[in-house]
Symmetry: C2
DNA sequence: TTCCATTTGTCGTTTATGCAACACATTGAT
DNA sequence: ATCAATGTGTTGCATAAACGACAAATGGAA
């Protein structure tokens, strides 16, 4: 596992597994998908699956993270600071992701999806905060990232509950003043 | 190499190489395609190429054979005997193949394509003759297959030369009486 | 021509994948 | 409840593929 990320065999095999899982997710519920199904579809050996993933839940984690990251990748985190525009971008990316997932996959993913989204949000917020507040204490930035991630994720839950009322952009805008002032006074 | 044909790794790698070669054939002439180009496109190691193919000419051979076989596979050789209908099917398959190849690939393949087609024809004719004449001497069937393969291939050359005169079906039909009677009197 | 860069085959070593077998859990039908 | 079938996670060994290096061949440009 030293530099396994760059070995072409590893990249190919992981893609085969993930693509097969996504393919199967369009046909069955998660609870009905077995490791054997996946490896048969991917035409790889079952032992190879366990070389890359602990179990099927580990695979689910990584697939969802990756799909979410693709949504996030349209946002250029290098340039963007943590301001109104970037928060709106992130919020829209989350709601887009949830729409895509709930269309493609069947029920039973909800808690996992929630966790993935929040974890990824925390990572992204922490990274952006650190760029913006290089002088601050690290622990303080970490906690801020946690709170932001839970808050923004919660907002997405709330928006889905009343989704007919407003667009995601409008919805999150009403929370922007609170978030921004909090960030600035970290 | 004992049962390497069924090892999933081998099947995957060969497909990667062949697909990359076909892809590159659409962009460059054969003489400008290097082994390195292919392995780079396929994202496999160059040494792995030489594990499967002697050189780039060996690859060309096998790719063309395989593409031609796909054309032939639409004909059910298990059921069909060597009669008017199957000869027409085979002839049409050849002309279709040549049309497809000359559209996709650039010049310089001609002699190789000719050899491949004739060799495949010989194999197919021999197999069909052996089913039909189980009692005959083997050498006699082999020679018949050789003559048939050269004859039918030559007919395809002739048809391409005057291709506007008639459809391939009509064209080969005029030779059917000769071929059939010859086959029956092997 | 000479020089320099690129490609070609080949080799030895390391790593990833295939495969068969195993004990154990889960499931489904009778 | 039982039994058979299927899935899970793991292991040891066989083999394909990756990698880096090498000498030789090829092919342009000076």
């Amino acid at each position: 596992m030293t530099q396994s990320k760059t070995d072409p065999r590893v990249l190919r095999t992981r893609k085969l597994i993930m693509d097969s899982f996504i393919e199967l997710s369009g046909k069955k519920e998660f609870k009905d998908i077995t490791v054997k199904d996946i490896t048969t579809e991917a035409k790889i050996n079952r032992a190879t699956f366990y070389y890359h993933f602990e179990d099927i839940y580990d695979l689910l984690d990584k697939v969802l993270s990756e799909v979410l990251l693709i949504n996030f990748n349209s946002i250029d985190f290098e340039k963007s600071e943590l301001n109104e525009a970037s928060i709106i971008d992130i919020f829209v990316a989350i709601t887009d992701f949830q729409k895509a997932i709930s269309n493609r996959c069947h029920r039973g993913y909800d808690e996992t999806i929630a966790r993935i989204i929040r974890e990824q949000l925390e990572i992204i917020f922490y990274g952006m905060l650190r760029k913006q507040h290089t002088t601050e204490e690290d622990e303080s930035l970490r906690i801020t990232a946690v709170i932001l991630s839970w808050g923004v994720y919660g907002a997405s839950v709330e928006w889905r509950r009343n989704r007919k009322e407003s667009s995601p952009e409008e919805f999150i805008k009403s929370a922007i003043p609170f978030l921004i002032s909090g960030i600035e006074h970290v």
